[in-house]
């Protein structure tokens, strides 16, 4: 019941948003300033039917995925080291503080001077997403329950059990928060970098080219695609987390002996 109510509220607020859009379009009455829902959705369908669509989306997804995986691996490793050894945390502090403060556009513009247009989105997304995940993992390590750690020592838990039953599960919430935030940031930065650097293929490149030709309906269609990609990424992530949690529960329940 609660889920139905939640979905109804979400659906209602989405409809209000679309209604406001249509209302704005009717008031402005200009295809260039703000096209209505119908032209935008018909352009969207046209775009989907055209062959370069898949390749444009694919390149954006590939860039986002590549940078996300690099962020997850590097931020997890360095975050673990920083949480465990304070000298690593101190050594990385200037680097992380700079990355947290630097404007996205500066990173993209500088990266464009150093790299080819295809590499810029990947590089920029990494630099923007890395500190988010790194800080979460470092905090996760620092917040590991010292009382439980003491209990594991007093009860002589073997290293492997301490790792799989205490340390890794303790870090999972920080890992998930960091990964979720980094993932939504990656999409935004990849597309922003594609807009500025216009690589041959990419959702951002198409947006930029459509904007130059004042095709606002196409700009909005590509924006909708970007929103859908972000939402789809989030949903896939949540589904993955849900199934992994279920798998763990199943494994745990199999370990429990049946008592008749």
């Amino acid at each position: 019941m609660r889920l139905v109510k939640r979905n109804l509220i979400l659906l209602g607020s989405s409809l209000v948003l679309l209604l406001l859009w249509q209302l704005g379009a009717s008031l402005l009455d200009s295809q260039i300033l703000l096209p209505g829902l119908l032209p935008v959705f018909s352009t969207l369908l046209e775009l989907i039917e055209q062959p370069p669509f898949t390749i444009n989306v694919w390149y954006t997804v590939l860039r986002a995925l590549q940078s996300f995986i690099i962020i997850v691996i590097s931020a997890t490793l360095l975050g673990l080291l920083a949480g465990r050894f304070s000298f690593v945390s101190l050594a990385l502090k200037p680097f992380v503080t700079t990355l947290k403060a630097i404007p996205v556009m500066s990173v993209i513009l500088l990266a464009f001077i150093w790299f080819s247009s295809g590499t810029v989105p990947l590089f920029s997304a990494f630099l923007m997403g890395f500190p988010v995940m790194y800080v979460q993992i470092e905090m996760g390590v620092l917040q590991i329950d010292a009382n439980l750690d003491e209990m594991c020592s007093l009860y002589d838990f073997p290293l492997q059990d301490r790792l799989f039953h205490f340390l890794i599960p303790s870090l999972v919430p920080s890992f998930l928060t960091g990964a979720r935030t980094a993932l939504s940031m990656v999409w935004k930065v990849v597309i922003a970098a594609e807009v500025l650097t216009v690589p041959r293929y990419g959702v951002g490149s198409r947006m930029q080219l459509s904007q130059i030709q004042l095709e606002t309906d196409k700009v909005l269609s590509w924006t909708l695609i970007a929103i859908l990609l972000t939402a789809l990424g989030d949903i896939l992530f949540e589904v993955l987390v849900f199934f992994l949690a279920k798998l763990k529960q199943l494994h745990d329940s199999r370990r429990v002996p049946c008592v008749s």
Partner: protein, 237 residues
Amino acid sequence: MRFVEICKSYKENRVFDHFSLDIVCNTILSVVGPSGMGKTTLLKIAANVLELDAGELIKEDSEQGPISYLFQEPRLLPFSTVFSNVELALRSSSQNRKERDELALHYLELVGLTDSLALYPSQLSGGMRQRVAIARAFAHPCNLMLLDEPFQSLDIKLKYSLLEAFVSLWEERKKTTLFVTHDPKEAILLGDAVCCLGDPTKPLLYQQINIPRKARNVSDTSLLALEASLVDALVNA
């Protein structure tokens, strides 16, 4: 187990100063005392996690080796089931999975948690969590048991039912036990002897209790007198 002329200070605060205390092997010594008078320090010294400034801790052969510790809070692994929380404490001593499963099940049965094996700590009440901790402490094959106010902050009914569960498990296999508490009643009901801390150089009170544990009644005159002297010692400490 004997604490011989032990000294322990935290900066300027001298907690033990040539302090000596004996615990008869395979008995329970209840330790009461005001906060900051070294109750937990005594447990940590017995657990070998705190180094002495001077003096010696002498353990009998049967008290050497693994230790079970019951903490103020249950300290269960939040992502492991009730069963796993107990079974994990057996892994260092037994490689045989079937044997571990049987032992864990046995102790969980004794504390009345057979129906909750697959639950996680967050799904249990405070009393049930403490029961799991008790089962874990007894399942762990230890030679020395240390209890750091494990029954505090529980309601009176639950406290007495857990005390009962503890006693029946302890009687099954007796081991040297140091039981720290704030509550003189708890101390009297559980201990073979009671000791009150408060002076860094010597116990303020040390009293053997000769009434069998199961026959003890808090309204018994001699126990009431002992409780009164414990309260008196605590108030004047």
